[in-house]
Amino acid sequence: MMVVYALFGVAALVALAPIAVAFGVSQGKDTTTTLIYGACLIVTLGLCTIALLSLFDVSHTISQATLPLGLPWLGAHFRIDALASFFLVVVNLGGAAASLFALGYGRHEESPLRVLPFYPVYLAAMNLVVMADDAFSFLVSWEFMSLTSWALVISNHRVRENLRAGFIYLLMAGFGTLSLLLAFGLLAGAAGNYAFDAIRAAPPVAGVAALVFILAIVGTGSKAGLIPLHAWLPLAHPAAPSHVSALMSGVMTKVAVYGFVRIVFDLLGTPAWWWSLVVLAIGGATAVMGVLYALMQRDLKRVLAYSTIENIGIIFAALGLALAFKTEGLNWAAALALTAGLFHVFNHSLFKSLLFFGAGSVLNATGTRDIEQLGGLIHRMPQTAFVFLAGCVAISALPPLNGFVSEWLTFQAILQSPQLPSWGLKLMVPAVGALLALSAALAAACFVRAFGFTFLGRARTPAASGAQETDSNSLAAMYIVAALCLIAGILPGVFIDALAPVVQSLVGGRMPVQTSVEWLSIVPIAESRSSYNGLLVFVFMISSGAIAAFAIHRLASDKVRRGPAWGCGYPDASTATQYTADSFAQPIRRVFGTVVFRAREIGEMPPPGSTEPARLTVELHDLIWDSLYAPIAAGVAFAAERLNYLQFLTIRSYLSLVFTALVLLLLVLAIWP
């Protein structure tokens, strides 16, 4: 029954699109913005409630429905099981937060009428992907999700960069869907039964399964942003309006993760031994590369987009671990790894949305996304600064917020790798663990940079010094998401227990019950091994901070003194003499960048006596783009150039071509044995 209610919700979202068009024409943009985002907020909250009800339903009934749409002999199957209900929570919580944020943010947009019709359909499509229970509905919803998000990316189409981002996104989305199409074609087999039930009942043989696995990684990985298929993501996510960026980064990549989990853990039967190695390697590499890219960026939203790639790497590494443990029959460890991965899915959807909301508010207040143009915003936007800081703390995996818990669980799973019998995995898993540790440290540096140069110091431009605090709706959305981050950080046991039915259905095991552990601690395996208590950490931080403040203000002096900002020793107090984001990243660029980006620094000194300034030029190369995408693009351009003359033949030549092709095909048919 749940799925029917959910489908009504989706239908309501789809119906909002024509309403947006009609109202946009007749009522003007302010009314329409409020109406559409308000309606989206209500519907997504309803869908979220439905998802929560089915996730916490003790009887774990699977709710199914078939609509007479789609392929005539198949119909459109929809189903909400534990996995789907968890991802529905992620999708609709993110959707609700983004809608609330957009109630305020959407008013300041340049052309809201280009965004409004697509936004509810985009939400509906993501819901449908998660609920789909046959390959046809899955692919149609998936493609709808891609197309609507593409329309949202190019909503501000007067910027040339956005058009390029949209073009690359469209290409990569088409490529990903093609891979998924082939994967489902192979899964359905010669009989061509596309319902997931039928696929589940008859999993493919080993060779076909391996092919499906590769295609599934390529198809879902290109949407999630796995390296080297990530090229579109850092272009497209920042190009969209900020609340859509939050949805794309926080939610749509998770829908891609859902696709991967659904295919590999649910539909594909028993995994082969090498699958986990592939996923682990890609996950580890993606995590480190993503955060290294993020550290080199100046565009605030692009930093966040690359950081999404890093977090997807962490999630995929956890999924790879779960796959490894599942293959070796260690169900309890697989449950731990999968719980960690899924919990990180939830956490990342929260704090990445929060950070994009913050970036949107900054963009709105200052008109720029360039970190080097900002600074000192903590004085002008204190509340935004506070919630953005909370997001940074969460994404840097610092306790007591939620990012720490899921990464800690991932490392707990990695520490179980000595239990694995295969030597390949025994060596591989600690290496991936090291990569994840490195990426966690670099992520912290990355967000120190992002927060520090945006909000601290002094304003570098007049735009930054004239910024105003953002509106109350946007702030409310950010505060709510930040509060959820804190709740997930200090009460992780509730969330882990909520994930238990999901994990149980996928790997046949679950983590120990956490809510019965005293004092809200979480215990991944056994109390003697390791445990974590977010509440204790939180209480300690609050009390030690309060005691320190009390001691200083009571026992010493309670006077507040404001002095001039320290000018780094320069006599001239110009804002240009401040530490810059590029110089902050320089040590990391020197250590990693020379290999990963072939970074070069060229210093030009003027000759003695000249009054010209000295210049320092930094060269960075995107090696993945240069070695993978650029040759393909050049090849396509070359072929197009060669084939171009076919555009200018005579009618008779075209007829002859058709005729020759037909005769050749008939000849093949005649000669074929």
């Binding site: 200018f648 005579t650 008779r652 007829l655 002859s656 005729f659 005769v663 048919l669 005649a670």
Partner: protein, 220 residues
Amino acid sequence: MRGLSFDIAHMLAGSLVLVSFLQLYQDRLSALINVFAMHALVLALSVAWQAFVQEAPHLYITAVIALVFKAIVIPVALRRIIVRLGIHREIEAVVGVGLAMLVGIGLVALSMVVMLRVTAEADPLAREDLAFALSVVLLGLLVMVTRRNAVGQVIGFMSLENGLVLAATGAKGMPLVVEISVAFSVLIAFIVIGIFLFRIRERFDTVDMQAMDRFRGEQR
């Protein structure tokens, strides 16, 4: 009766192929139109015989459509067009007749081989019919390819359609809707192409495709 009806159907379909060859042989437009009228007449006969054999009265309608439109209305109209354009005496084959005939023979052989192999289990009447129909389609295409003049290409296209109708009526149980739509599509194509011919003529003073190539800046 069975043997005789088969033989007559076979003969009519074979004559259609023969008339297609006649079409290939004509290098004057007015003669080509005459042969096309004959082509449509043979088609109408063949369809009518199929209607009688299959006891499917709706096929008579198809036969009448073929007779009225393709054997009478369209040839008369086409003749008026070429007389008004003043091109009824033009010689306009691109490829030599001998070569075209040889290619045509090869095409018929090819379609026989393909069809007889593919439809090994089908009803023998439908089987032969399909093989002849494919030959007619291929020969129609060959006519289109070997003509230089737009009118010649139109006729090639319509004799190709005749092949399709032959295939459709040869198979039992083809609904009438399809045939009517096929007939009307030809009519519409004819009208559209006719209008285009006049527009082209207005603009370029000729319907010779080579002349149009010259207008596009191509040297032949």
